[in-house]
Amino acid sequence: MEAKHLERGLAAVAAVALFACGGDGDGDRTESRPGGEAELAPAPVVDPAVAATIRGVVAFEGEALVAVEIDMSEEPACAEKYTAGPPMTHDVVAENGRLANVFVYVKEGLEGTFPVPADPVVLDQDGCRYHPHVLGIQVGQTLLVRNSDPTLHNINAQPSVNRGFNISQPQAGMESRRDFRRPEVMIPVKCDVHGWMGSYIGVLDHPYHSVSAADGSFSLSPLPPGTYVIEGWHEVYGTAKQEVTVGDGETAEISFTFSADMAADAIVPLGEPVELHADHQGTAVYAGNGIRAAGRE
């Protein structure tokens, strides 16, 4: 527990630091990274000859939560898309001892700033589900939200240190673009019209993130050689992390093991703690906002 407290404390310090230097005050619409952080030098471009890779699998032990059928009877336009079988909850997708939908990312060890990828990250609403269920994005990178259903969805993003938004997409084919200004792991996204719809977005100030596939596999590359803290985040089982060193051109194989027992006392970080304005501090204690996620897809 002490380690967890310490970790939360560090996260809080990090968030304050981010607050102190982050934010350019413009809208949440697509835009480049604020210039106020220019004191950090751009990270050197990774030489393909020495680029390193960290990859591995997320293993799962114990009995996973049982998926239950989602009742979409109130939304025939979505229900009829499931011809092969009814839609099931998938807050836990664990088969053959592997856990999917784990957000794996470099938590510590990178230096400098990284160019914002030009390609948008797509969050699709199809069959009244979010695709993908978990995704990573870089600060300033465009999030493209698409409605592929002929029905009303609202996209209610509820970050803490970023500004949230809640926009409606009443028609199929509609696309909206947003971005996030500050790193935040994780931002919950929900649709209030369809209470079962949920998604999680991890925002980082670098491009080294991955989401474990159905076979539990993930990969982070091309990394500059170095020593990194890699963290895996799961919406039910919480987080796990480890340190790994990769040399020039090396590939490091690592694995995470999440277990059914972890759900009981998991702290699932949703968002970063939002601190009182610095001028008010010293007069109050805030307990943090670790929230146990449950009840959604």
Binding site: G25, I155, D279
Partner: protein, 522 residues
């Protein structure tokens, strides 16, 4: 003050002084004075750290604003943006209808400006560049065509999914709605525009479409507008349509409910067309917050009362909105969530499931001689009340109550009740003989105002006969029979008028004829 407290106070003062130095001055806002206003008026709900967690907050739904997270519902800026100073200022001045946030017009302009600056100082977000209001067009006007078009937009944008087909806040998604704190939140009843958080004017409604209500499930339609899925005209039409769903203004509350005497038969049920002839009296209801268990954020906030009598029976029609027809399994989870979020703090827990909706009409046990009335929360041991009690699972019966929910049966029940539920609205007709013959209950007397009070509850929101919404005492007046002369007088007047009219016409015609004759002769 303890030494620790003094040190803390000094630190706070020092902090406030440094805040003044940091951000005050130029705008003329004084953070130290703002802090004083805040500590006096705001802290009970919003908390000393501005996190919306003051001592009173746990009783409120929605909870008070968290100024550190700085998610503001009522803005003129895009979804996700901070509010402008004018936005916060308007809310301070007018309050937030439909919530526990009152209008702070008791503060002077300077105090409001100071506290506004202090409220903003809780959040680092306000160090970002000041937000820009969105571009809003002017109202192109309403009218029948706009309302008809607006109705179509309401369907197309699927507003009914939350707000219901008739706008009563009872759409299919409502039982699962939650705010950003994961607390249950009700879809706004659009037929009661006086509870709109951002105001009930057409312009205010149009603004909410474009900005959304951040922190709630209500999204912004700004992107739908940009994508061409709706036009700005559509949104204006929709605003006019939503505005038309309720009365144009908050209903006037009248203390005397008039029960007209009908010559023919009394209405047979809540759907009887005869009720259309009756005048409707609006009675606002507020949470029962006096006795435990209390309810600070009740579902039912008002009832429309209509009454007729025919000299031997009294019939009342009670109409109120409730998004759930309790018990309803679709609302089980809502009930549990609401009970957990509202009644967690020392209040009696709600363990029962599938509770009924209910309604109580209270009367004194006899016509009071003076101004004395029983206690408005269903009387007490010494001064009981007669209650007309209706519950959705058991029907209507006349009982005696000696305190909130402390009911006892009468020897005979003469009350008959018929209820119907349609699209988020209960209509309950209650009928009873004016005089039931015995002495154990009230005998109504024509011409004498008789005290009457109301109590309603929504089982799906974990409410019951004690934990619901209540009115104070009103009066019901049973009109006396009109004398035969009252009927005869208009008839005589009509006959006389008609006869005089005919006389005038005949004379005019005669004159006209003689003039025509004269012309012809010439």
């Amino acid at each position: 003050m303890s030494p620790g407290g003094r040190v803390r106070a000094m630190l706070t003062a020092a902090t406030a002084t440094s805040l003044v130095a940091a951000t005050g001055g130029a705008s003329g806002q004084d953070l130290e004075r703002g802090r004083a206003v805040y500590e006096k008026w705001c802290v009970e709900c919003h908390g000393s750290d501005g996190r919306g967690d003051g001592p009173a907050a746990t009783y409120m739904l929605p909870r008070p604003r968290d100024f550190v997270q700085a998610r503001y519902q009522i803005r003129t800026t895009a979804s996700g943006e901070l509010p402008t100073d004018d936005d916060i200022s308007r809310v301070l001045l007018r309050g937030m209808p439909g919530t526990t946030m009152p209008a702070w017009d008791n503060l002077d302009e300077k105090e409001r400006a100071d506290v506004l600056a202090y409220v903003k100082s809780f959040s680092a977000f306000f160090e970002d560049a000041p937000p820009e209001p969105m571009a809003f067009t002017g109202d192109p006007g309403g009218g029948a065509a706009a309302l008809s078009a607006g109705s179509e937009v309401y369907d197309k944008l699927e507003c009914w999914k939350c707000h219901g087909a008739s706008g009563r806040g009872n759409g299919q998604s409502t039982p699962t709605l939650e705010d950003w704190r994961k607390l249950p939140i009700r879809a706004t009843d659009l037929t009661e525009p006086w509870v709109f958080n951002g105001g009930m004017g057409v312009e205010a409604i149009h603004t909410r479409f474009l900005t959304g209500l951040d922190g709630t499930p209500m999204p912004a339609y700004s992107d739908a507008l940009e994508s061409g899925i709706v036009s700005d005209r559509d949104l204006w039409d929709l605003a006019h349509y939503v505005h038309s769903l309720g009365p144009g203004k908050e209903p006037t509350v009248r203390e005397l409910i008039e029960a007209v005497r009908v010559a023919g038969v009394l209405p047979k049920g809540p759907g009887d067309g005869g009720w259309a002839e009756a005048e409707a009296f609006y009675v606002p209801l507020v949470g029962q917050v006096v006795l435990k268990p209390r309810q600070f954020s009740p579902t039912v906030d008002g009832v429309w009362v209509r009454a007729f009598h025919d000299g031997s029976e009294l019939a009342m029609l009670l109409t109120w909105n409730d998004p759930s027809r309790s018990p309803d399994p679709d609302w089980d989870e809502w009930q549990a969530r609401l009970a957990a979020s509202l009644y967690a703090d020392g209040e009696e827990p709600v363990t029962e499931r599938r509770l009924s909706d209910g309604f109580v009409v209270q009367f004194p046990p006899g016509i009071p001689e003076g101004t004395e009335r029983p206690y408005f929360l269903m009387g007490n041991a010494r001064h009981p009340v007669i209650v007309w009690n209706w519950e959705s699972q058991t029907g209507a019966s006349e009982l005696r109550a000696r305190g909130l929910g402390a009911m006892e049966a009468l020897e005979a029940n003469h009350l008959r009740g018929v209820a119907s539920y349609d699209d988020g609205q209960w209509r309950l007709q209650l009928r009873r003989a004016l005089d039931t013959g015995g002495t154990e209950t009230l005998a109504f007397r024509e011409g004498t105002p008789i005290p009457v009070a109301f109590f309603a509850w929504d089982g799906s929101s974990a409410e019951d006969v004690r934990r619901g919404s209540v009115s104070g005492w009103y009066f019901i007046h049973l009109a006396e029979p009109t004398s035969p002369m009252a009927y005869a007088a208009p008839l005589i007047a009509a006959l006389v008028t008609g006869a005089l009219g005919l006389l005038v016409v005949a004379r005019a015609q005669k004159r006209e004829l003689s003039r025509a004759d004269a012309v012809a002769q010439a």
